[in-house]
Subunit: 152 residues, 2 copies
DNA sequence: TTGACCTTGACCATTCCTGACTTTTGGATA
DNA sequence: TATCCAAAAGTCAGGAATGGTCAAGGTCAA
């Protein structure tokens, strides 16, 4: 079994045991326990605990630091938001993103204010400093993170 | 729990008990009571009781010295969002941005869900593709765009 | 053979904690 | 009154405890 799989399995088990869908760990401790370098933990988190898979990851550095992983869904596609998150690829245009948000609002899944905020965050207006060639990637990433944050 | 957290919790409790949103303490006394060096109190004040978080700290040295902490309310009337937008510069760190949003939520100016969405959009988690050196610029830009979108 | 996925380690960034040294203030004293 | 002293609070640099990033190279299945 690959290291990556072991680490992922370990974290999933932590989530199960926790019961509340939330697990907190210390990167160095976990790396030590599983016999890998600490940065491997980051690799696992970025490749296996993404919004697409229904996870939200938060962390804090420094003394008393931690990594917190939240599971926002139990099964694929259980939330209309997850459906969108999974449908969005690695990149998305401003127009498409806008259409998605407006559709969510029309369906009554998000309020007018949330729609406004999300549209603002997905518009190129805010992307002036971002190299043009990665804007659509950033937009897709932001859209997924925001939608995932709304689940539960 | 970290010393820092304990001290912060203690001060917040003092503020609650006071009722008038104002607490006064003696640095050395508090340090003694909580078992830390006095300068630790300063660290907590500068890291957890900042204007972004809605606090004002005043103090006096020498005989009869004191530290006074006040919780300030954002004016509801004249668009508090515009006030914040104007206060944000061209760049902002994840921590400061988070403090601002949490303060807005604490003051009842934005809902829990909007707070969630904005925090997700301001977290480095969503900035993976953005070069590190421009992340804080993008964050500031996004924050201002989102807040502006809330002004009716 | 090649491209996607995995692994490692060197270097970076942030947060917390401490203690030595500094500054300010009010009151005691010459 | 002019000085000095003691009692506050402030500053700062350094070290420890965390997590983050990135580039280089390895593995493996199609």
């Amino acid at each position: 079994m690959r290291l990556t799989d072991e680490i992922a399995a370990y974290i999933l088990q932590m989530l199960e045991l926790a019961g509340d869908g939330e697990a907190e760990l210390r990167r160095n401790e976990l790396a030590e326990a599983l016999g890998c370098v600490p940065s491997q933990i980051n690799y696992v988190l970025t490749s296996r605990f993404t919004p697409e898979q229904g996870f939200i990851v938060e962390s804090k550095r420094g003394g008393g630091g931690y990594i917190r992983i939240r599971r926002v869904k139990l099964e694929r596609g259980v939330s209309p938001f997850m459906h969108v998150v999974n449908a969005v690829g690695d990149e998305i245009s401003p127009v498409t993103a806008q259409a998605i948000i407006e559709n969510l609002e029309d369906q009554g899944l998000i309020s007018r204010n949330i729609s406004r905020v999300m549209l603002a965050a997905l518009s190129d207006q805010a992307y002036r400093d971002i190299p043009i060639n990665i804007r659509d990637r950033v937009r897709a990433s932001l859209l997924k993170q925001m939608l995932t944050a709304l689940i539960t």
